[in-house]
């Protein structure tokens, strides 16, 4: 065997700025890639927007000011769940099937960059939904909102997407490929209904009213109501519940992702 002289520097450590760069590049790529894919993103953002337009505005065109705010907050939560559950869950399920995730796991992608990228994407999509709803509510339903209220509503939506990202992620690790949208719909619509987003909670049977606090969407609804000035209870217990849900789903999903891939 011929001997090859190798002028090789010892393995370079990853400089922290390059590591940060890797996270940013991953998030940027994930966003660019989905925003160039209207077939994926339009349904995810327009479906809840259309629901709000039809059921929140057209069907309630005589609503008083407080009802209109209530509807905005409820459909806002409904709208935020969609990019979280679908954007995260379906894309993860697809990428587990088509081999992209395998390739990324083999490559030295920093831990979590992939998930963080999807999270940023879901937050931006949630922001788009919230802006669309705000525009519709102010323009068509004549909801009166201060600038700060509108900003708080937007922020509630963009952060409120996170527990649903974690939930979508868990589904994405359990179901592969084409099965995911169906499973997510089975979670999305009933959970929205049961937590009083589509029909006020007071109109539901009392048993359903009592179990409503187990749904994360019910807690986010309280926060959204608070954002538009209809808050009845302090925000922090709801924030804590949502944090716990996010952490719980995320840990379960991350564990499964690491073990099964």
């Amino acid at each position: 065997m011929s001997v090859i002289t190798i002028n090789r520097v010892p393995p370079l450590p990853m400089p922290p700025c390059r590591l940060l760069g890797a996270y940013l590049t991953e998030a940027r790529s994930e966003c660019i890639r989905y925003f160039r894919m209207p077939g994926f993103l339009l349904p995810v953002t327009l479906f809840p927007t259309m629901f709000y337009l039809l059921f929140g505005i057209v069907m309630n065109h005589n609503a008083d000011a407080n009802t209109a705010r209530y509807l905005l907050a409820s459909y806002g939560v409904f709208g935020v769940m969609s990019p979280g559950l679908f954007g995260f869950g379906v894309s993860l399920a697809m990428e587990r099937e088509n081999g992209l995730l395998t390739l990324k796991r083999a490559m030295p992608m920093p831990a979590g960059a992939y998930l963080l990228g999807k999270m940023v994407m879901a937050m931006l999509a949630a922001g788009v939904v919230m802006l669309l709803l705000l525009a519709l509510s102010v323009g068509l339903a004549h909801v009166q909102l201060g600038v700060l209220q509108a900003l708080r509503f937007l922020l509630t939506g963009m952060l409120g997407v996170l527990p649903f990202c974690a939930m979508g992620m868990l589904v994405g690790t359990l179901v592969k490929g084409q099965g995911a949208p169906g499973v997510i719909n089975i979670i999305y619509l009933p959970m929205s209904f049961l937590s009083g987003l589509l029909v006020p909670l007071s109109a539901l049977p009392s048993v359903l009213q009592q179990i409503a606090p187990i749904w994360p969407s019910a807690h986010l609804q309280q926060l959204a109501l608070g954002a538009v000035g209809l808050g009845q209870s302090p925000a922090w217990p709801h924030v804590l519940v949502l944090l716990a849900y996010s952490a719980g789903f995320f840990l379960l999903a991350a564990r499964r992702l690491q073990r099964v891939g």
Binding site: M1, V3, E26, S29, L103, R105, M107, P108
Partner: protein, 304 residues
């Protein structure tokens, strides 16, 4: 000048089971710096499983797996490798330059985008979206992603599937350049001529174990058969009785002979038929050796 050949990755006694199926049955494998190792074997021999272990995608049930002396799941170890998998899906809406920039960002000291693109022959495709490329072009992009991080060890799983001859030759040249720079390469391929053209060492797997290991020549000599083909009127049944002829067949005007002592057979053959024409003598290629080896293991298996 002596230099100890550095081991960059190794499997020792690696066992991996999927339910009742034993994919790897105590596999030992070492990869050395600057060496191109071709991993061959029929489907289900354990090639993909071996690669998955080395990449840290799955864990061995028993045995030891090391990548640069570390656990392959350690990102520090994987920062020194490049990967091109067999069934690679990449985001279709990203451009080639964006894909290269993203993959380069994972490494501490990557090549420039232009350098990677140049080496893989995709400099003219940088602004194109991945989905708009042909299968062969996509393969070259995946190759560029594999080499962009200046890896010391490159995993190439069926790299030239879907490529035309010209593209394949260019990829081979690029692989040779990388190994000359000291990069180790693990190549799995179904094209035996690819292994023949590139490999320093060939490992043939079967049933999760190493069946044979050595240079292409050593492997080829495992099958001592030479093929002789010519136009002749001689009776193949009579030829089959000659010493040193293991097989004699007629195919129209041609006859085919297999022999392990071709010099003797040829001398006698030319004497026996002065009108003999279009003589071809060919040593067994890697393909024959490979078929022979895997068939032997099949027979052993049945006998056991």
């Amino acid at each position: 000048m002596t230099q100890s050949v550095a081991v960059v990755a190794s499997l020792s006694g690696a066992v991996k089971r999927y339910g009742a199926l034993t994919a790897l049955d105590g596999l030992d494998l070492m990869l050395h710096r600057g060496e191109l190792l071709a991993l061959l074997g029929p489907n289900g021999a354990g090639k993909s499983t071996a690669i998955s272990l080395l990449l840290g995608l799955t864990r061995a049930d028993a045995g030891k797996v090391e990548l640069f002396g570390r656990d392959p799941q350690d990102i520090e170890a994987r920062r020194r490798i490049g990967v091109m998998l067999q069934s690679s899906f990449l985001p279709p809406t990203l451009t080639v330059a964006e894909l290269l920039r993203l993959t380069s960002s994972y490494y501490p000291a990557p090549r420039t985008i232009d350098e990677s693109a140049g080496m893989a022959g995709i400099a003219d495709l940088l602004s194109r979206r991945y989905a708009a490329l042909s299968g062969g072009q996509q393969r070259r992009v995946q190759f560029a992603l594999a080499l962009c991080g200046r890896p010391e060890l490159l995993f190439l799983d069926e790299p030239t599937v879907g490529m035309d001859i010209d593209a394949r030759q260019k990829l081979w040249a690029a692989i040779r350049r990388l190994t000359a720079e000291g990069c180790a390469v693990v190549l799995t391929t179904h094209y035996l001529e690819e292994a023949e053209a590139l490999a320093h060492r060939v490992v043939v797997l079967g049933k999760g174990r190493v069946l044979s290991e050595g240079s292409v020549d050593a492997l080829r000599s495992h099958v001592a058969v030479t093929r002789i083909r010519c136009i002749s009127e001689l009776d193949v049944n009579a030829l089959a009785q000659w010493p040193d002829i293991s097989l004699a067949e007629r195919d129209g005007t041609h006859i085919h002979l297999h022999s392990d002592a071709p010099e003797k057979v040829l001398r006698r053959l030319l004497d026996a038929d002065p009108a003999l024409s279009e003589l071809e003598v060919r040593r067994a290629g890697l393909a024959e050796a490979f078929t022979e080896l895997t068939r032997e293991s099949e027979i052993e298996k049945e006998a056991a």
